[in-house]
Symmetry: C2
Subunit: 301 residues, 2 copies
Amino acid sequence: MGAFLFRQMAVLGVGLIGGSLGLAAKERGLVDEVVGYGRDPGNMRIARRKGLIDRVCRDLREAVSHADLVVLATPVGTMSLMARSVAPHLKSRTIVMDVGSVKGPILREVEGLLPRDAPFIAAHPIAGTEQWGAKAAVSNLFEGTRCILTPSPRTDRRALRKVARLWKGVGARVELMEAGLHDRVLGAVSHLPQMIAFALMNSVAEIRLEKKDGRGTESRESPREVLSYCGGGFRDMTRIASSRPEMWRDICIQNRKEIVKDIERFEKRLERIRTMIEAQDGTGLELEFQKANQARSRILA
Amino acid sequence: MGAFLFRQMAVLGVGLIGGSLGLAAKERGLVDEVVGYGRDPGNMRIARRKGLIDRVCRDLREAVSHADLVVLATPVGTMSLMARSVAPHLKSRTIVMDVGSVKGPILREVEGLLPRDAPFIAAHPIAGTEQWGAKAAVSNLFEGTRCILTPSPRTDRRALRKVARLWKGVGARVELMEAGLHDRVLGAVSHLPQMIAFALMNSVAEIRLEKKDGRGTESRESPREVLSYCGGGFRDMTRIASSRPEMWRDICIQNRKEIVKDIERFEKRLERIRTMIEAQDGTGLELEFQKANQARSRILA
């Protein structure tokens, strides 16, 4: 069995990312066995039934004590707690890897919590949809996507290479990036749009419109009726408003400095448009919109 | 030829909506002849080549003087000017219809500018993409979509029925709505998301990120590099940022009262999230995100 990259992978948090990684790594012969640990028995049953993991461990110690790779795949706010809990039970040379969407704070905290002989690798596979849980996991989730690894000066280079091989093995392009830069970039292109989607959904859901029928009787349009008039634009823009609340709660708090700056920068641009609309500044609006046209075709082409 | 609903339709502004209506109406035998009028010779050549119109009229008078249906399909800021220009040249009983995305101001202004014997019908086909111009026009654009007609107390009921038959003929579901309600609903579900998409695109395009390479050399991530990390969420949310600037400039100004209110309501929800992030209020954030989850599944289900 020398072909396996890892003998036993312990997935802590068998959701969309953790579950898909378990399944993908097994299918591609990269790991011999995948054990799973998670709080929700219903979710763990689904994980087992779908073959995302080979077996469920009820006990965290049992889950990690024979693993040579421990994957932290719970919401980012729990990473430190998880690292602290698994630290005493790790075999020597077991690699610990997280798959969270925020890297700087996790890297700083978790590195200090693990034993010196348990290398930590911070990873962020840029994959996923607004779906979550074991039910949403699929073996090809990482194919053609990017996985960012954010090593620190302390990072064990051999462990880094081994983890890179794992991600390449499940179909991702691996890229190294400084953790702080990762959090700034993802804050702008992922965390900000997510906040906007939540806010847009909630702002439209609170609308109540009066309407009169032919006989002058007043009634109210429910939000459902209001939204029945939305086009594809609104649907597209709020698709990710269906994303998992606990996950985004944690990302917000972990990456708060960047997200707050991103929201403020966005609000300034929106305020600029609002002011121009109030002033009926057609020329200004047209320029602002042209700029967006050009930016999109230049940048996303 | 008694089967034709209209003998000659004049389309003023042969873009995505006007051009598609011309083509769809011809293909379905609803009109005998479609003449087109527009400022851009290149666009008119495309319109002619694609058969959106049967012939190009260089002169506005010539375009409308034999028509029994005149379609105003230019950006909404030009509707009054168009109505004023065509008014002296209309045959008796010619129906004038606009297809703009704002209804209240157009209805109020245009009704007063047309001759008493030229009925005006305000229509808004909820169709279209971020594409524009004759090149984007297709004959099935209106199939399965909604077309909102916003009659006023002055509206000629026979003309209204005739126009409704035209829209049904090209595949749309026709619905009557009070013009003010239309502008409030569309402000919320269409105009607001559009402003957000423009602002999001511009706010991310202005980012310049410092990065260090392995040797500590600083360089900058261009917006293009930053955006190469965006997932499907960002792409979906900014798709409509490619929409036509002149069209949206006019919609903003015509529907300014509603759009400003919509932006303000949205900004309050986003500010709520920003404040919670700064305060690290995890419970508050989770509730806010759950609300968005629920709203989306309840409303858009």
